[in-house]
Subunit: 231 residues, 2 copies
């Protein structure tokens, strides 16, 4: 053992946020353009450092989300830790990533701190042609995979529809997030078989042609049984 006293090293703790929503039938992620080095000008996840040593990590995530994107009241869930040495040229930075999946998120407001934020389809963000800061491509990929899995066994999808919705609208949510096409007839059977997932309402008219669809609303159940399995 060393005679002189050893002290554990200090590191910097950051939070990064993967905010997913559906825009125009595409799964999109909120990205900000970096205004400072490193990676100045590149796209990055909203996030930042803990404000002070007593700040709760999830609270820091909410604060950054509010400051950088003007968003509040979203449900965050822990996604993972990213702490490889060298991932940030400024020093040893360990980042805790959070995931939010939410509909109805507003467009970032120009003229505010959120002006640098924008929605990017995840397919674009994950393609190698988009320049992303740090290891954020990996973090986004992990978040997208988590979102796809959540659609399978939770009632999350109904949150992306209006208060009442048709089953084909709900199907479009699944198709957009999973990136696959589903058979409407099997989808109907499956979604109706998940106990407490959706409850029937009245019928509606369709703006264009075709038979009018029944309306449903979200049921009381949050965990789906049986689950909606991905093809």
């Amino acid at each position: 053992m060393p005679a002189d006293e050893w002290r554990p090293p200090s590191i910097l703790l950051a939070v990064d946020l993967v905010i997913l929503t559906l825009r125009d039938a595409h799964l999109t992620v909120l990205l900000v353009q970096r205004g400072t080095d490193p990676y100045r000008g590149a796209l990055a996840l909203p996030g930042g450092f803990l404000r002070d040593e007593h700040e709760d990590i999830e609270a820091a995530a909410r604060r950054e989300l509010s400051e950088e994107a003007g968003l509040a009241d979203v449900h965050l869930e822990p996604l993972g830790v990213y702490g490889e040495p060298g991932r940030d040229p400024r020093g040893r930075v360990v980042s805790v990533a959070y995931l939010a999946i939410s509909p109805h998120l507003p467009e970032p407001v120009a003229g505010t701190d959120a002006a640098g934020a924008s929605w990017t389809p995840v397919d674009d963000a994950l393609s190698a042609t988009t320049a992303l800061a740090f290891d954020h491509r990996r973090i986004i990929a992990d978040g997208v995979e988590r979102a796809r899995a959540k659609l399978e066994h939770t009632a999350l999808a109904t949150a992306f529809c209006a208060e009442t919705f048709t089953l084909s609208e709900l199907q479009q949510v699944y198709e957009a997030v999973w990136g696959v096409e589903l058979d409407p007839r099997n989808f109907y059977r499956k979604v109706q078989g998940a106990r407490g997932f959706i409850v029937a309402e009245g019928p509606m008219r369709k703006p264009s042609n075709g038979r009018p669809a029944r309306l449903f609303r979200a049921g009381p159940v949050k965990e789906l049984y049986p689950p909606m399995t991905r093809p």
Copy 2:
């Protein structure tokens, strides 16, 4: 914005290890007795601080495992982050937890640094009567749940058997980790139906009474299809 320059706070980064093995048909976790404050004398997961600011987090986990328990060459997987303010009275400590699940782990050797380490059945560790340091009971619970899930869709269970094994020996692994009893007949059908999970060998004799059982060895597949579902 403040006129004086703001600096992000420094925090301490720790690693904690949930090392699970099977001993005497019980799922057990490796715990060490703390020799220093805080929680001096209480049981805790092996772990500690990053040695220096350039050490990789998983490397730190391996080093602590070697120092505190004399173990090497185990497969570690990330389990989660635990960073609530106040979880450690020494200051702001964020811990990254790793999980290892392995058979054939040696008894900690007395007279070495590992002398303070011991195997504890997880049922004991999770019961409220055992005094555990920090939030380690929660971390252990998360690790056990992860282990149970891994048995469902990976071939991990064969690693807990000898090179050749009977199906009832394999069944005992599942029963010990899941903490349930399984129907041997349905277990046979299920395990044989998982393609590439096990391959047949010759028959063997049983030390006591009963019909001799066939021997199997681990197959080439690591991801089970179809999975072994928990009851």
